[in-house]
Amino acid sequence: MSFGHRHLLGIEQLSREDILTILNLAGTFKEISERRIKKVPTLRGRTVVNLFMEPSTRTRVSFEIAEKRLSADGVNISISTSAVVKGETLLDTARNLQAMNPDAVVIRHSAAGSPHFLARNIAASVINAGDGSHEHPTQALLDCMTIREHKSEFEGLKVAIVGDISHSRVARSDILALSKLGAKVAVAGPATMLQPGLETLGCTTHTQLDSAVEGADVVMMLRIQKERLGGESLFANSREYARTFGLNRKRLDLLKPDAIVMHPGPINRGVEMQPEVADGKQSVILEQVANGVAVRMAVLYLLAGESEGA
C-alpha cells in the first residue's frame, strides 16, 4: 500500500488513487468496530494529539474512538480561540506540542490554512479536522465511503449538495473528492451562499433547488451554520429557507428512486431537512457517522502507523 503523504491537509493534495487507498483501508477497519472486542494493537505506543481550537463534538469523538480502537494514546486539547481573544499563538502551541513529540496532531481551527501553518512548524503528521471555510477532508472521505457502499460506481454519479456552500468546508472537500472520483456534482443555494469561483472546484452551481436535485443519485443537505455567518444576512428566515431550499418528502420525488440522502450533522430539523426525510428509508445519515470512525482509523494508520518507527 503506497500513500506518499506526511499530512492530510485537504482533499486538494490527494489523487484519485490516494482517496481509493483510504476508502479501501477504511473498509477493512470498519469490521473492527463491529467486533465484540473493538480494539487492535496497530498504533500501540503512538501519541495522537486532538487539538480542537473550535467547538466540535462529533468529529472530536469520532477521532477519539478511532484512536482508541487502534490503541493509540489520544490526548485532547481544547482551546477556544479568536482574532479578538488572543492567548498563546498557534506557532507557540505548535512548538510546545512538538516538544512532547507526538506522532500526529489532529487540528480543528476556525481559520483556513491553519493546518498548513501547523504542518510547516511541526515534525508530527498533521490531520485537518476542519479549517474555517476551507476543507474537512475526513468528512469528505466518510461521505465517499458511504456513497460507495450504496452505489457501485462514482463515475457519472449525480450528486447534489445544498446549502451555504460559501461557508462550508464540508462542501468544498466533498466537491473536490467527488469530482476526482468522477461524479458530477451540482451545488445549490441562494446566491448569497454561492461565492464566485465555486465552479473551478469541479461543480455546477444552481439557485433553484429543483434543478440541482432532479435525477440525483445522492443529495447532501448542509446545516445552515449560523455561527459562521458573522452577523451577515444571507437569507430572510428559517421558514422561507425551509420552503425554498429545504428537503421535504415532496421534493424526494425529483430524485432517482434509489437515491440516498445525506447530512454531515448536526441537523436543524425542519430547516434544511424535514424530520420525515431525515428519518426516512433513503437517509444514510447514521451510516455516515459509523463510517467516520473507519475512515479516521484508516487515515491515522496511514499517517501515524506505517513505515516510520514500525
Partner: protein
C-alpha cells in the same frame, strides 16, 4: 566631497538623456554631465562601466512606523532601507501612533528624518483628526511644515459629505488628497481577493468592486470640487478604467500602483503564507495585466512600494489573523528591472514612474540629471544578484514573499544632495551591510 561617476550609462528619460558618459558632482549639485570629464584633486572617482545612473527614485507610499510602532521600523531604519533601495525621497503615510494629524507630529517626523540623515522624507498628513473619519485635520498648519498630501491611509473616508469637505479643504492649502479606496462594508476585512482562488483557499474575499466603488464616488466629488486627487495603490482593472476615464475628462487626478501588484497575483495566497497578505489584496491575472498596461500607457503615474514593515508578532499567525502588508523598499528595484527584462514595459516608462512623474503628482521640486540640479541620483548594478534575507536588509522587517529568494539588480550608490546615503561601491557584492549609511 566631490565625486566623478565615470563611464556609466546615464539615463533620465524625462530629460531625454541616455548616453554612456561621466557625471560630476560638486557641492551637492550635478556640476557636469558629459564625456571625458576629469577628476580633479580630492575628487572621488568611481568607475561605473556597465552600471546605470538614474535620477534618485521617489516613492510616494511608505510606512515608516514612527512614532508609535518603532519595534516594526523607525524613521532611521526605514530611510536607510530607502537609500539602499535607490530611493532619495519617500512619502510616509500618517497611520502612526499618534497619527500625523497636526504639526507637532509632522515636526517630529521631519526632525527624526533629519537626524537619520538618509533619504528625504515627505510626510503625508491625515485627512481627518485621528484618522477617525469625523472631522477635518489641521491641514493648514501641516502644509506650512512641509506636508504635501493628506490621506487617512487604510481607512477611506466613508462619509461622502465629509469627503467632499476633505477635498475642498485640501484644495485650500494646495494639498493632494490621497485615497486608499476600500468600501469596508463590502471588503469586510477579508484577507484576499474574492474570486476563483479565494474559493479554492476557503478564505473570505474582497470583491474588486470594494475598491472601484469608493474610487467612482471620489471621482464624482473631484469633478464637483476641482481638488487634486491621487488614487493610492490601484489594484483592479475597473479602477484603471475609472482613472483613464477621469483623465480623459481632464480631471486633476493621478494614480499609483505598487510594484508587488504589478508582479504577483492572488495565486500567491494559496500557500497561506502571510507574507502574501496585503491590502488591497493581490488580484487576478487580468487585473495585473490591466495595471501593467496602465503603467505602459501612462494612466498610472507612479509606481510605489507601500513599504509596510511588520514584525513576526503580526505575521507568524493564521492567515486570517495576520496583519496586511509587506516591506518593499529594498526589493522594488530588482522587481522593476525584472518587469523591464520581461518586456512588460520599457526602462524609460519604469524610471519616469519612479522619478519625474511621482514628483509631479505631489508637486515636489524635481530636475533630474541636468547640470545645476541637486545631485539626487542612484548608481545601479543591473546584473548583481543577491539574496533577500535579513542580513542583506536594512529595514527592521523581512516580511516579503521574496524572503530567501535571489533577485537581480541593486543600488550601489545613492546620493541625496550629493551626499552618499547608501554606498557599497567598494563592497564585496554579496549584500547590503557593506556601505556606510549617512556618511558625509
Amino acid at each position: 566631497m566631490d565625486l566623478l561617476i565615470a563611464n556609466a550609462r546615464l539615463f533620465d528619460p524625462e530629460n531625454n538623456l541616455d548616453q554612456v558618459g561621466d557625471l560630476l558632482v560638486s557641492n551637492g549639485r550635478i556640476a557636469a554631465v558629459g564625456s571625458g570629464l576629469a577628476a580633479g584633486n580630492g575628487v572621488r572617482r568611481i568607475d561605473a562601466s556597465g552600471k546605470l545612473v538614474l535620477p534618485g527614485l521617489i516613492d510616494l507610499h511608505v510606512h515608516l512606523r514612527e512614532p508609535g510602532q518603532e519595534y516594526k521600523e523607525t524613521i532611521a531604519t526605514g530611510t536607510a532601507a530607502a537609500a539602499a533601495g535607490g530611493f532619495v525621497t519617500v512619502a510616509c503615510m500618517p497611520n502612526t501612533e499618534p497619527p500625523n494629524d497636526c504639526k507637532a507630529v509632522t515636526e517630529l517626523i521631519l526632525n527624526r528624518a533629519k537626524e537619520a540623515n538618509a533619504s528625504r522624507v515627505v510626510p503625508i498628513g491625515t485627512m481627518t483628526k485621528g484618522r477617525a473619519g469625523k472631522t477635518l485635520s489641521e491641514m493648514g498648519e501641516m502644509a506650512e511644515f512641509g506636508v504635501k498630501a493628506v490621506s487617512d491611509d487604510g481607512d477611506s473616508v466613508a462619509d461622502s459629505g465629509l469627503m467632499r469637505h476633505v477635498l475642498e479643504y485640501a484644495k485650500t492649502f494646495g494639498l493632494v488628497a490621497v485615497q486608499h479606496c476600500e468600501d469596508k462594508a463590502l471588503a469586510k476585512g477579508a484577507p484576499m481577493h474574492e474570486g476563483i482562488n479565494s474559493a479554492r483557499a476557503g478564505l473570505a474575499g474582497q470583491p474588486a468592486a470594494a475598491e472601484a466603488s469608493i474610487l467612482a464616488r471620489d471621482l464624482l466629488l473631484v469633478a464637483l470640487t476641482g481638488a487634486r486627487y491621487h488614487a493610492a495603490h490601484v489594484s483592479t482593472a475597473e479602477s484603471v478604467e475609472l482613472i483613464r476615464g477621469a483623465k480623459a475628462k481632464g480631471l486633476p487626478v493621478t494614480a499609483e500602483a505598487t510594484i508587488q501588484h504589478l508582479t504577483f497575483t492572488d495565486e500567491a495566497c494559496l500557500t497561506y503564507d502571510t507574507k502574501t497578505k496585503v491590502n488591497p489584496p493581490f488580484r487576478t491575472e487580468a487585473d495585473r495585466a490591466a495595471l501593467r498596461e496602465a503603467v505602459a500607457d501612462g494612466t498610472i503615474d507612479a509606481i510605489v512600494t507601500d513599504h509596510a514593515p511588520h514584525s513576526r508578532i503580526e505575521k507568524d499567525l493564521e492567515y486570517d489573523y495576520a496583519a496586511f502588508g509587506i516591506m518593499g523598499l529594498e526589493t522594488a528595484l530588482p522587481l522593476g528591472l525584472a518587469l523591464v527584462r520581461d518586456g512588460v514595459f520599457d526602462l524609460g516608462t519604469l524610471i519616469r514612474a519612479w522619478t519625474s512623474r511621482p514628483a509631479a503628482a505631489f508637486g515636489l521640486d524635481w530636475r533630474g540629471l541636468v547640470e545645476g540640479a541637486p545631485a539626487d541620483l542612484v548608481v545601479v548594478d543591473e546584473k548583481r544578484t543577491w539574496t533577500v534575507e535579513p542580513k542583506n536588509l536594512r529595514s527592521k522587517a523581512s516580511n516579503t514573499p521574496l524572503l530567501g529568494q535571489d533577485v537581480t539588480g541593486r543600488a550601489l550608490l545613492t546620493l541625496v544632495d550629493g551626499r552618499p546615503v547608501h554606498d557599497e561601491v567598494d563592497g564585496t557584492g554579496s549584500g547590503g551591510r557593506t556601505g556606510t549609511v549617512g556618511a558625509n
